[in-house]
Symmetry: C3
Subunit: 138 residues, 3 copies
C-alpha cells in the first residue's frame, strides 16, 4: 500500500522548523500499520535533518558550526546570483539531507526519545518549501 | 513482504563498529529475495556509515578529520549539558547518516567489494545503541 | 512490484556527472506509476548528490569547498595506499551520500525544478562506477 501527500512549509528564513507533528499526523492518516515513511524536500537550498529535540541551544550551535565553516559571502564562491547566502545554502544542503526514511510501526514513526524531524532553511529570506511524504507498507 | 527486527549494540565509546555481519544475518533470516534493507539508528549522537572495510587506518583518519573540525570542548558550543563531547556528537551525527537503505538481491545486501556497514559512536562513554532493521520486498 | 537495473558510468576523474537523464529513463522503463526510486553506488570513493542543475559554477564551488577542508595529500591522513587523493575521497564520500531515495509519480521522479541527480567522482583518475537502481511501487 502506498500513501502520498505533501507538506508546504512557509519559512521565515534561515533556521530549523520542527516537522515531527506534521509527519506523525500524515503517517496516522495513511492507515499504514507497518512500513516506511519517506520524506523528500524538492529544493537544493533547504534540507531535512533528524536531531536532538529538547534543547534549543542545539539548533543555535548547529547554526554556529555551519556559519564558521560555510560563511555567507565567502570569496571562494563564484555562484552568487541570488546573494551571499546562495552558494552557502547549497553546500549546507549537500552536507545534510534531501531525503529521510523512517521506520513505521503501529501507525507511528519509530523515532528515538530525543529525535525530532526538522526542515532546515538555509536561505536568509523566507521561502515556501515543499516536502513530498510517502508512506509505504501494510 | 515486510520483515522487521532490531539490533542492540553495546559500544565501548567513540569509534566505529562493523555491523556488516549482523545485517547480512538479518537479511538472510528475512527470507526476502529481492528488495531493500533499511537501517535506522534511534539516536542523535551516534550514526551509520558505509565505508572502506579493509584498512583500519581509514577509521583512524576519519576520527582525525572529525576531531580537527569538530573538537570536543569547542567554546563555540553552548549545549554542553552532557560534557565536552555532547554537541560535537550531534554535529558528527548530522554530517553522517541516521538511516541507510541498501539494495537486496539473492537474500544478500548488494554491497561493493570494499563497502562495510558501520555504527559510528560519537560519544566518549560506552552506550547502548538501538538500530531498527526493515527488509521489504519479494 | 520491484524493478531492478544498474548504471555503469565511466568517469574521467574527479568531478560531477549528471545522471538525471539515465535515472528518468530507467524509471519510465520500470512501468511503475507511483512509488520510490532508490539509487545505490557500490563504492566508497565516489558518491551521489542532488544539487542545483542550472549553473556550472555551483559544481566548481563545491569542488573548491571540498578542496579547502579536505585537501589531497593532507599529512593528517595515514591511509595513502592509492595516493594523496585516496583518503580525501573516502571523507568526501561519507560527508555526501552513498544512497538516495526519490519519490516517483506518473512514472517520473518528483524532482524540484532545480534538482539534478549527480554522481560525484572523488578520485583524480578515471574509474568505472556501478550504481544499482531499484524502483518499487505500483
Amino acid at each position: 500500500m502506498i500513501f502520498r501527500d505533501e507538506l508546504c512549509i512557509a519559512t521565515n528564513g534561515r533556521g530549523t522548523y520542527d516537522l515531527s507533528g506534521n509527519v506523525h499526523q500524515l503517517v496516522a492518516a495513511s492507515g499504514i500499520e507497518t512500513g516506511m515513511c519517506h520524506l523528500f524536500i524538492c529544493h537544493t537550498s533547504a534540507s531535512l535533518m533528524l536531531c536532538e529535540n529538547a534543547d534549543p541551544e542545539v539548533m543555535r550551535d548547529l547554526e554556529a558550526f555551519m556559519s564558521r565553516y560555510i560563511p555567507d559571502g565567502d570569496p571562494m564562491f563564484a555562484h552568487t546570483a541570488e546573494g551571499p547566502d546562495d552558494m552557502p545554502a547549497h553546500v549546507r544542503s549537500i552536507l545534510t539531507h534531501t531525503d529521510l526514511t523512517l521506520p513505521v510501526s503501529d501507525k507511528k514513526c519509530m523515532l528515538g526519545t530525543w529525535q525530532g524531524i526538522y526542515l532546515w532553511e538555509h536561505r536568509l529570506a523566507p521561502h515556501q518549501r515543499r516536502i513530498v511524504v510517502t508512506v509505504q507498507g501494510e
